[in-house]
Symmetry: D2
Subunit: 324 residues, 4 copies
């Protein structure tokens, strides 16, 4: 059976528990609400939980900021700091003197360029450690950063490039930044997910590419992602639900059709929509019109947050300072 | 009543005559099929026709190239030439020694950057006429070109910038290039529209901005457009039609709902969808994932075509030569 | 007689008074030293002074920041604020509700792209005044901003584009930002000049282009400039002086040659070098290797300073906030 | 003793044999003149020759095109083809089914961005070989391509990134593209050098970085370079020579100074100039004003030439076709 595609753990959960607040076995969920944002921590505790929500074992922290796509500069700083705090907590236990940051995605495709744009802006310091022949510094972590591109640009698998670098420079920990896809339009550029399970490539048909995980690379892999697109089929699906729901409420009409759709499993319905759509739109995305500008803003928030979280000497007062 | 939004004259027609081949009064349509493309010439002949298809009087030439979004370099050259031929025919009657080319749209938004990208690539010659104090040249037209940006970037209405330049340099004719929106996904980056009616800003609520037309600027205005986005509501609407159609064919189910929807006018149905969508997605577009790359390719085709059409000394052999 | 080319008033002065501290008639000079920078205010008081230093009547404020090309983020903020303070003082007397900011220069040439990059980053507000039909706001000035490009890109004189816009939107004051050329390598990207005399195009041979000045545009024109290049002939000239000086000090050798060069007027010597250089390097500049990166940094400093100086509601705490 | 810095073998030779046409032992030189360009083939045959011109053993082909910096489109095509021909001849003997192309340099510094810009434009095919599980194709070589950035951007040595990729994908041959520095202003953007000795990092003080050579990587390394900058000290040196030469011819003056300078070895003189210059200009380059535009043009020529030289199925008629 085909998996409804989403990169967000918090959405996997919602698929199974849309309204009912019942807990899933093997999965713990905690929500902390702040004034401007909420933090949801999903822990996949065992194989049972992993199968239920189709996500690997580990911790998934989601920061939801409903107004992050607006141009409120104070909010952006607040979220950089909140993101840094969550990231710090997640990597607390790991050794992290030497850090490699990887910006995944295609820099020629706006909606996929979050990773490369963060790499452009993050503070890179490893060259100073080498030039001054230093092993350790009290205020700075030893940070290298690179955007490996995508196979369509380089002809080389991302894993091969990253693995080669990891073998050479032997970091303690890897942080990968990537643009995600979401099931919900209102999560686009308003949600940041941090997890300690690494990156698994799209589990689509016949995809045998190696992921970036502790198993494949031999070191802890932290994944940071922000949804930038919604799949077109997803959007049609959600809109149809809304329309039918709204028509049903207004009158007794449509109930036959609605019953039929209700009779289908969610995944069958999604498959039906995808089949209808696929002939005439292969590679279509649904995205905000100003996604280019949003990605610029988000890459600053993430780069600021990374700088605060990983360098002992950079704090709140320095937000926006080390951004190139 | 709200107008279903589309920038393509050929689509206005389709709305009213989806299958029936009946002619619309006051509108003539001619189609010429070539191996790799077809050219549809819609002429809005009088006020009756204008009201029917909600487009100003004038000629609208649409070049449809189903495979233009593929990377076939020979096809791209062929279309540059075909486009140049149609453009030449459309401006045959006009004086065109001095040409001003305007690239409309926001260069920071990929799907809206066609105009500015064409301006980057088109051959500009007016400076030589000024420096050598020349009035006329046998091989070169006198061409100026500028991208005025959009009001969100400059704080200035496009019309005010263009009108100021027109008054100063007094061109014979203005050619405006713009990204369009289409009703159909399969037109995205596969259709070029050329018209002699200028550019009218979106006729949405309370939009009192001045268009770029013969009436407002005092010179002929040729508009060149390529659809780069589909409105999200449009896509949902079209997909729902397809799904219901497909379900209806398969069984007797859904007929009640379908009848209801059929009972609504097309525009009422569209309005319903838009109402449902609007709360949670204001500014969403549906676009190919690689729109950035497509726009680059299309801007070369248009710039090549413009160079061939307006400079007597540039012909087919020079395609790709004067592109920066 | 050919004028040794420089855009900086403070350098014109130095040409005539290299070491001697004697005052020039008709020119007042004040220097204020701060810890990290100094501010020199040159006032050209009358025609005599104007002829002496070959600059129009008016005030020229130069902020010299020896370490501005280093990556010290605190210094950058400090200079944004110092720049804002000087700019505010210079425009104190003018009406400035409606401001038009012009970014001069060619965005395709790194060393010439300061103006366009500032325009990309400055806060533009005029659209809100129009959309909300407002005449005045207590916290925000009414700001429009545009980069007109250069004649080689558009085929249109900068003056024609700017004059057209000024006529349409009728600002109270115009602020033009431009990259300058300097006589001294150590001024590159370390000096900001603000003046109230507008922009006069290079006074070279046969240059009849209109400047952007109160006379040509009919409103006060503030010019903001930062040197980004040194002319190659200038650099050779200065280095030769240093070498001969150094050799002369070390021994009695070279004195004959030195005497000869000393016998030449400075301008004749410069002309000689230019003649020798010109056959084999027409359009050469001397610039820091990382000028692209420096221009990015400087454009942030200038945009921040502009935002602070012209919007009543933006102050020091907001530095870096309204930068796109 | 410090080496006068130049990346071009043909200039090393000129240093020692400025006018005299005498041959250097261990070095063979052949010149072929075409109408629009000349091809100089320098072969360093043994250790003696290598020491004389301070270049590793191997073949250095230099294509000189005096007008390559002009906008003559026919010439550009001609040079793409000439370059492809020379490159083909140089790699004739090597196995070259699988090719890795490396674009060296810093994409944020215009004058250093030739390599990355070529990588953006070159045809990459390795992904098709992998997706279709193919070992060999008659019309296409198996090409991967990447720009590793520079240590200041990534914190990682170029060698480490390249070596990691070479180990993973095991190409038959590596082609590295880089911007060079020249001793002569008139070589900037008019000379292409191809060699089979790989890339050795600047042999400056204490530089212990590993080069990209057959010895370090274990496969043949072809280096393609175009000079984009002249060192500032070099330019002062050359200009002073010209000035003194010109003054000496005109009169008997300056001879004392000239004799002194003549008494110094060339390298001592250069060192003197560098000492004088260094305090006030660390990192200065001399470059054409429009280097950004020139690099764009040159990267197309190189990418076209590479495509023609390495893919059996791409020939002259396809020039400009596979450029992105």
């Amino acid at each position: 059976m085909k998996h409804i595609y989403t990169d967000l753990a918090v959405e996997s959960k919602e698929i199974y528990n849309p309204e009912k607040k019942k807990e899933i076995e093997g999965v713990s969920v905690e929500v902390a609400d702040e004034k401007n944002y909420s933090v949801t921590t999903v822990k996949v505790l065992n194989q049972k939980g992993s199968q239920k929500i189709r996500k690997p074992l580990g911790t998934y922290v989601t920061i939801d900021v409903p107004n992050l796509d607006k141009t409120d500069e104070d909010l952006k700083d607040e979220i950089s700091i909140a993101f840094a705090k969550e990231l710090k907590a997640l990597i607390k236990e790991y050794k992290k003197n030497k850090i490699l940051i990887i910006g995944l995605g295609n820099w020629n495709i706006s909606s996929d360029s979050l990773g490369p744009k963060v790499i452009d802006k993050v503070l890179v310091t490893r060259q100073y450690f080498i030039n001054y022949n230093k092993e350790f510094d009290e205020t700075m972590a030893n940070v290298a950063a690179i955007s490996p591109g995508v196979m369509g640009l380089t002809g080389i698998e991302t894993f091969d490039i990253v693995k080669g670098i990891v073998d050479k420079i032997q970091p303690d920990i890897l942080i990968a930044v990537d643009a995600l896809s979401s099931r919900k339009m209102d999560r686009i550029s308003t949600t940041i997910q941090i997890s300690d399970v690494g990156i698994s490539p799209g589990s689509g048909v016949g995809n045998t590419r190696a992921g970036l995980t502790k198993e494949t690379l031999g070191l802890p892999v932290i994944a940071i992602g922000i949804p930038t697109v919604v799949n077109a089929a997803t959007m049609v699906n959600d809109t149809m639900d809304l329309i039918i729901h709204s028509m049903k409420e207004q009158a007794e009409i449509g109930s036959e059709f609605y019953s039929l759709l209700e009779g289908l499993s969610k995944e069958d319905k999604y498959k039906l929509i995808e089949e209808v759509l696929s002939p005439f739109m292969g590679n279509v995305i649904v995205t905000p019109k100003d996604i280019d500008v949003l990605i610029d803003d988000l890459s600053i928030i993430v780069a600021n947050g990374l700088n605060i979280a990983i360098h002992p000497g950079i704090d709140i007062a320095d937000v926006n300072r080390y951004i190139r």
